[in-house]
Symmetry: C2
Subunit: 310 residues, 2 copies
Amino acid sequence: MTAAAAYAVADWGTSRFRLWLLDEKGDVVAERRSDDGLDISRARGFAETLETHLTGLQAPADMPVIICGMAGSRQGWVEANYVPVPADLTAILSGTVRIEGISRDVRIIPGLSQSGSAPNVMRGEETQLLGAMLARNLRSGLVAMPGTHSKWVELEEGRAKSFSTYLTGELYALLAGHSILRHSIGNATETVAPDHPQFAAGLELMLEGNRRMLGELFGIRAAMLLENLAPEGAASRLSGLLIGTEIAGAREKYGTTTKIALVASGAMAALYAKALTVAGLGFDIVDADDAVRKGLFVAASKLWPAATQG
Amino acid sequence: MTAAAAYAVADWGTSRFRLWLLDEKGDVVAERRSDDGLDISRARGFAETLETHLTGLQAPADMPVIICGMAGSRQGWVEANYVPVPADLTAILSGTVRIEGISRDVRIIPGLSQSGSAPNVMRGEETQLLGAMLARNLRSGLVAMPGTHSKWVELEEGRAKSFSTYLTGELYALLAGHSILRHSIGNATETVAPDHPQFAAGLELMLEGNRRMLGELFGIRAAMLLENLAPEGAASRLSGLLIGTEIAGAREKYGTTTKIALVASGAMAALYAKALTVAGLGFDIVDADDAVRKGLFVAASKLWPAATQG
C-alpha cells in the first residue's frame, strides 16, 4: 500500500460499492469502484466483500474503515438507526455502529429520519450533506442531491431541518428499461444530454404549467410511432419530464428565493444545472464525490484522531 | 360447438387474450381467456395461437373472426393503421385489415391516433369506446377507460374529438413489483380495496393540492420503516396516489362539469368510482367487458351480415 493512507472509507449502496483510502488530510491515496452493492454482497458475505476490496488496495489489517449508505439499512450488513431531524449533522458522527465479530474496526454511519405527516428517511446522503456543508460552509438554504432517490434538504442555522425525496432516477430506469417506453428508447438510456431539444421540451412542459407527468409519458411512445421520434430524443424527453417534475415540485414547495447547493457530479450535474436554470432557480455546484468523501473523512478523523500512517 | 354461434371475436392485447363466440344478437355463447398476449403469441405464431383457442371452443373452420387490440400493432400480427381523430367511430369498422395467407376470414380493427402538439395512440380501447357509445347512446362528454394505459376521450356530436393517456396501471405494476417499494408491498399488489383508508389518503393528497406524485412515492417506504405501514396499506396508498394523479390531471384538463362514462369492470370500476367521487366528478359505469364485446359484435355484424349459424 501507499505509505500515506490513514483511513479506508466506503459508500456502500444498493447497487454500487465505492472504497477510498485517504491520507490524514483527507486526500485520496487509492480508489476502488465496483457493482458489489447490497444484493451481491449479502449473498457473498459483507465482511468478505469488504476485505476483498481492501486487499485489492493493499490496506493493512488494522486500518479502520468507515461506511455510509444502505449497508446500514435493515437489508444491509448491520442496521444503524436513524438520527431524527431537525438535527445537527455532527450527531451522525457520534451515532456510528461498530461491526461486531471481526477484528478490524469497521463502523457504519446512521441515516436521517423524518417523522410526522411526511415520513422520510435517507442513508448515505447524510454523509454527503455533511461533507457539502463543511466544504462550502453552508448553514441555511436548500441542498439538492439528485440521484436514484433525489433528496432535497432544508438547512436552518447549520442544522438539517426537513427533507423530501423524489423517486426520479429510479423511475427513469424503470420507465426507460421496463415499460412500454423501452421500445422507444432501446439502448439510448444513457444518451441524455442537457442540450438536447427534447430534454428542454420535457422540462418546460413540467415547469410551465399544471401538467401531470403521468399524463405525458405515453406521448413519448406516440411520438415514436407517429413522428419517428428517435431513441435519443425519447430518452431525453423522458428525462426532461421526470427531472422537470422534480424541480417543479421543489419550486412549489420551497419557493424561488433561496440559492440551492446542487450536490452532483458529471452528467447528472449537467442535467440538473440545465433544469434549475430553466426553472429560474439559482445554484452552486458541489461535486458529489468530493462531498461524500469529505463527510466520510470527517467521520473517520473524529473517530480515530490518532490513526497512524499504516 | 353450440349451434347458435355466428362470430368469433377477440380482444388481443400485450399480455392478455380473450375470445368469445357470439350469436347473431351479440350474446355470449362461449368464452376463453388466457395469457397468450403478444410476446407469447409472436413466438408460437399468431395463426396457430388463434386456431388453438378456436378449436378449444369448437368453432367451425369457416367461422369469421374479428380482433381488436395490440395484435394490430407494429409488434403484433399485422399492422392495422390508425384512424386519426376527430373521427366518427364507424370509420374503424370500414378500416379493418384482413389477414392474408390463411383460409379463415380474420380481420383486425384499426386504432385511433392523434397528431399535433399532444401525439397519442390507442388500440383496443377504440372498440370498447364504440361499444360504450352504442350501449349508452353517448354523443358528447367524457369517456374514461382505466387500465394499464388509461384513456380519456372527449366526445363531441357523436365523434371522438381528442384523447389522452395516463400510464397509471403500468406505473403501478412497475412500482409495486420492481422499485424500492416492492419491499413495502410484497405480495399485496392485488389487495387494494376502495374503502382502505390509505387508498383514500393517497387520493386526497393528489386531489387536494398541488402535490407531485413523484415526491410522495418514497413516503410509502419511509412509512413502512418508521410507522410499520402494512403491505396492504402500502399497496393501497400507492394506488391512491397514482389514480389520484390521473383523476386530478383529467379534472384540470376537462373541468368538473361533464358527466363521465366510466368504462370499467370489477375491482378497477370500484377503485375509479371511489376516486371520481372523492374528486367530486359525476359518472355512470359502463361494464368494460360488455363494451368491448359490443364493439366487436357491431364490427362483425357489419362485416358479415349474412353469417350463418355454424
